[in-house]
């Protein structure tokens, strides 16, 4: 048996390692997000450039769509947006989410959050499930962080039903991840079921998806609102 001093040193050593690993994961997610954002912006701009010389009819149409007009701003086909977020910001001003999202996670998908309604659910399988629900509005900082993560993901690239681990990894129990991103009338949902609890994938796109979901989960479970909910009633063994 080790002495208490040795064990204490080991506690601090492991803590440092875990903190460094978490920072590396965030840097990796950001490093993946930046070039993907750039690609998304370039593709959006390329798509929106006029294909030929503008005709008189085009100019008359543009005059009719003045700012504040009924037809409003053109939406990019890219659900995430091209950086022109001002017209589609939700009320709340600077730092508001230009898209709204919902995420379901956990063993059998018992936890969830919807940014549009603020509904935060810790467990749906409790004896009194109403005790495990609260309302929480993301702070500006959290909103900005999650927006960056979602923009970097480019969710349109993923199929509606997705296996980030390509059936190669598994665990029992497994978890469910359902990420929905909404902008205006457009919505994209990616559903991943029966995933290993390790958040690991051998596929870079799959790893990115898992990393983004895990980062969002960590933000949500680190909030005071989450902490104030009761402890889980059941443990899935």
């Amino acid at each position: 048996m080790r002495t208490i001093d040795e064990c204490r040193a080991e506690v601090f050593r492991r803590s440092e390692e875990k903190i460094k690993a978490r920072r590396r994961a965030r840097v990796r997610a950001a490093a993946l997000c930046v070039p993907l954002c750039l690609c998304a912006v370039i593709m959006s701009v390329a798509f929106m450039l006029p294909k030929g010389p503008r005709t008189e009819e085009d100019m008359m149409q543009e005059d009719g769509e003045a700012p504040g007009g009924a037809s409003g701003t053109e939406f990019s086909n890219d659900l995430v947006g091209d950086g022109r977020d001002d017209d589609v910001n939700a009320p709340g001003g600077e730092g508001s989410l230009s898209v709204s999202f919902s995420l379901t996670w956990g063993t059998y998908g018992i936890s969830s959050y919807d940014s549009a309604t603020g509904r935060l659910v810790k467990a749906t399988d409790a004896t009194r499930p109403e005790d495990y629900v609260t309302t929480y509005r993301l702070t500006d900082e959290e909103t900005e962080l999650i927006s960056e993560l979602i923009r970097g993901l480019d969710i349109d690239r993923y199929p509606d039903v997705y296996d980030p681990q390509a059936g190669k990894l598994g665990s029992d129990p497994s978890m469910t991840l359902i990420l929905s991103v909404r902008m205006g009338a457009k919505e994209k949902t990616v559903t991943a079921k029966n995933i290993a609890l390790t958040y690991e994938s051998e596929d870079p796109d799959g790893q990115l998806f898992l990393d983004v979901c895990r980062e969002i989960v960590e933000i949500l479970t680190g909030t005071e609102a989450w902490q104030s909910l009761p402890e889980y009633e059941f443990f899935y063994e």
Partner: protein, 183 residues
Amino acid sequence: MDNGACSYRRFLDGDEDAFDEIMNEYFRSLVFFIDGYVHDVHTAEDIAIDALSDLIVHKHRYNFKVTLKTYLFMIGKSRALDFIRHRRVIDIVELSEARELSDDERELEEVVLSDERRRAVNRAVRQLPEDMRAAVHLIYFEDMTYDEAARVMKKNRKQVDNLLYRAKKELRLLLGEDGEGLL
């Protein structure tokens, strides 16, 4: 007043010596408790170290609504069960058989249970099914309340009560007439 919670608050405020108090207070007991699940002192130490490092890495997860001891034991139990699941080893312990303690386990038992009487009871308790063993351990050896033990075991108070009732019946059989005075 929960001394552990006070120490942890001081640690969060920057007093690193406060973490030493937490280690001295809870570490060996936690290892002893986890050892009841994994049956290996070194693995139990490892898991306990991981549980304590969670206090440093995830500082905002502990909400001070339960005692620090309860929180640590909850993490310890979860991690022990995770370890068992990944190891995929099934231990079947029959009531009529007693697994001999290793030297390390004997040493740990002597550190945590200074009283020979409690050690004798512990040896009988180790023969009980897992849930009964955990309930007896938390209530009698760790002096937890029924509510605290229920939180650690993720059961309700009534279930803990039933487990203790059945555990006492089994212990009477295991310890016999002479041993009944130890309970």
